[in-house]
């Protein structure tokens, strides 16, 4: 959007004022001279759109935490592995790299022969784009929107996770026995907030009288498993028999609460709805109702294809229901007829019949809950 707007402004200026155009050209020349003097520190130019295609022989991914978390890090690494399998190329996974400077790790991956890099944390995207420009190795980044685009060099991925959460909310409202649903977030996180809003909208669409309880563990309680358990126990005591938990490591504490707490009056069982990953293999007590699953393989494949065709880094890709990357996990706990209803709602979201609201803060989610 930003780029389109800039192009329009520039074109209009050239049509109405030749003098201004000359000044603009002079300014552009000066800017280019200045940029060339800055050496490799500048971010890649995002205004070029035609680049030569490239082939991929090895993929390298750097993730901030261990890729066995049944969540963000594991989903990224697993999707990259599936991409490598489908392309028949090698892959190198550098997980547990922390949230600081990913530059050295990306350089090492490139030195090892990776010709497509994946920087798997939103905090990585500035350094990752710089490194890609310096090494001339394309990189996939997340959370940078248009700023993360550089033709042939940097491809940005985003989510419309609220769409999947809408389906989860719809399902939960249909299955609750108490009429009360809990939403627990480990942190003040953009994606958690978006999904919380989608969940509320879906629940209210299914059953307008559904009561929703929202609680956050901490400002950044991603690994706070004890906090996740404590807050979830409070939400259950307040009447929720289904908990939509968003937490990374904290979500294991939330699941523990659902497994061990006494169901509230009116319910004989508690359920947990997860996000990002698939923890069904860990569900020993049959409480794992579903998950808003983020499967990045379709987006990775799209990026790889774009790289070969020379369109890599020219538009933001979204993980959404239409692209089949965002899914509601089907488990045996969901009745068949309800699942068919969910599929219908999914189709309505994809064709635009149902519009899922986008909430950008906890306050907006609270307002949505308040109706």
């Amino acid at each position: 959007m930003v780029r389109e707007r800039m192009v329009r402004v520039r074109a209009r200026g050239m049509a109405v004022a030749p003098l201004a155009a000359a000044v603009a050209l002079l300014a552009l020349a000066l800017a280019l001279a200045g940029a060339s003097g800055c050496g490799g520190d500048s971010l890649p130019d995002t205004t070029t759109s035609s680049v030569a295609g490239r082939s991929i022989s090895r993929i390298g991914i750097v993730a901030p935490e261990e890729a066995n978390d049944f969540g963000w890090n594991q989903e990224g690494a697993d999707a990259a592995r599936r991409l490598a399998d489908s392309l028949g190329v090698e892959i190198e996974v550098a997980d547990g790299a922390g949230y600081d400077d990913p530059g050295p790790v990306l350089r090492q991956l490139a030195d090892d022969g990776s010709d497509l890099l994946i920087a798997w944390a939103s905090g990585y995207n500035v350094v990752a784009r710089q490194t890609a420009g310096e090494l001339d190795v394309p990189v996939i980044v997340i959370g940078a929107f248009e700023e993360g685009l550089a033709p042939g060099l940097s491809q940005d991925l985003e989510t419309r996770a609220q769409e999947g959460a809408y389906l989860a909310g719809f399902l939960a409202a249909r299955m609750t026995k108490t009429g009360t649903l809990g939403i627990v977030m480990s942190a003040d996180d953009e994606n958690w907030v978006k999904m919380a809003g989608g969940f509320v909208a879906g629940a209210r669409a299914a059953e307008p009288a559904t009561k929703l309880l929202l609680a956050q563990v901490g400002q950044a309680g991603y690994a706070d498993a004890a906090g996740g358990k404590r807050v979830t126990e409070g939400v259950i005591a307040a009447g929720a028999d289904i908990v939509f938990g968003m937490g990374d490591g904290s979500s294991f504490g939330m699941i523990q609460a659902v497994e061990t707490a006494t169901p509230p009056a009116g319910a004989d069982k508690l359920w947990f709805i997860d996000v990002i990953g698939d923890k069904t293999s860990l569900d020993k007590k049959g409480v794992y109702l579903t998950s808003v699953w983020w499967d990045y393989q379709p987006l990775f494949e799209r990026a790889a294809k774009a790289l070969e065709e020379g369109t890599f880094g020219t538009q933001v890709y979204y993980l959404d229901l239409a692209g089949d990357g965002l899914k509601l996990l089907q488990t045996p706990h969901v009745p068949e007829d309800l699942w068919k209803e969910i599929e219908d709602v999914k189709a309505d979201i994809i064709d635009g019949t149902v519009e899922v609201p986008v909430t950008e803060s906890k306050t907006e989610v609270e307002a949505l809950i308040g109706g």
Binding site: L212, A215, A225, V235, I236, A238
Partner: protein, 315 residues
């Protein structure tokens, strides 16, 4: 349309009060140990790492032997072992306490992450809830009874430990020696008492208590181990120990106050009041700082805290 917001019913209040206690106990245990170590003159920045080690070891032992008591024993032993390393490096070899503490923290974070991945990364096992010990009659009192007098036995033992530490510091010669090691180690040495042995004792107590606190976190509070799960608890415990200025009762008040603040944050969210969570968490510390400013502006920390003791050296 039915909006959000729950009423603070008996089950909700019971869960919140019980949650406050459970959240406060790891802080209480770790801060008690840190206070003893600081009284002896050793600042234990590695407390968070010792807690994390205790959390992993306690969880693993509980899972293996099926007994939380085995887990608590293992957690204490792991904390003791880390304390022994710290004592060797900081008291025996007089290395910088801050640098060693940070190194131990990084080591604990890395080691527990690697071990967790190797042992439990594919299964993420979880523990059964630790049963509570009901105190006859008062356990039946609504809210308070169920929340405070039906807790696992280890909760009562932790509070009893605070009383024991208070007695140790105030009524025994060892307590006097600990304080002397932290205030005037040269005077203690001149009196014929080993400063090194006294400080080693303090550091070992800190390690053991931190390990226990970490074990409580994984065995009781979470029922699971995840990497980095201490989430800064060790550093909050250091703040509590410093603010308590050698008074175990203040440790109890601050640790449980922090737990209450956490539960208050949950309660307000459940009733539909929007508040910044971090602001609520800071309330107990703000209250203590105000109390210190008003009533106790004396010397806050031991005079020789963080200073290595070298026999015969001028200070």
């Amino acid at each position: 349309m039915n909006g959000g917001g729950a009423s603070l019913s008996v089950p909700v209040l019971t869960a919140l009060v019980a949650g406050a206690v459970i959240a406060g106990i790891p802080l209480l245990l770790a801060a008690l140990g840190e206070m003893v170590s600081e009284r002896a003159g050793v600042l234990n920045i590695g407390l968070e790492g010792m807690m994390l080690t205790g959390a992993f070891t306690g969880f693993a032992a509980t899972l293996h032997w099926g007994s939380p008591w085995a887990g608590f024993a293992a957690a204490a032993a792991a904390g003791l072992a880390f304390g022994a390393v710290m004592a060797l490096l900081c008291v025996g070899l007089n290395l910088d306490q801050v640098v060693v503490g940070i190194a131990l923290l990084v080591l604990a974070q890395g080691a527990t992450s690697v071990l967790h991945r190797a042992e439990y990364g594919a299964s993420y096992p979880r523990l059964d809830a630790v049963p509570g010990l009901e105190i006859p009659l008062i356990a039946k009192v609504p809210v308070i009874g169920a929340a405070l007098f039906s807790q696992p036995l280890v909760v009562y033992l932790a509070i009893a430990l605070a009383a024991a530490v208070g007695w140790l510091l105030r009524a025994t010669s060892l307590g006097l020696e600990l304080k002397a090691a932290g205030e005037e180690p040269e005077a203690l040495d001149a009196a014929g008492v080993s400063v090194v042995a006294t400080r080693v004792f303090g550091v070992l107590v800190a390690g053991t208590c931190a390990g226990l606190g970490g074990g409580f976190l994984s065995i009781v509070a979470a029922g699971v181990f995840v990497p980095f799960m201490t989430n800064g608890t060790g550093f909050i415990a250091i703040v509590i120990a410093m603010l308590s200025r050698g008074r175990p009762l203040w440790v109890v008040i601050l640790a449980l106050g922090f737990g209450i603040a956490l539960s208050l944050a949950t309660a307000l969210q459940l009733v539909g009041v929007s508040v910044p969570i971090d602001l609520l968490n800071a309330l107990p510390f703000v209250a203590v700082l105000v109390a210190l400013f008003l009533f106790g502006r004396g010397k806050a920390l031991p005079g020789a805290l963080g200073r290595p003791f070298v026999r015969g050296a001028r200070t």
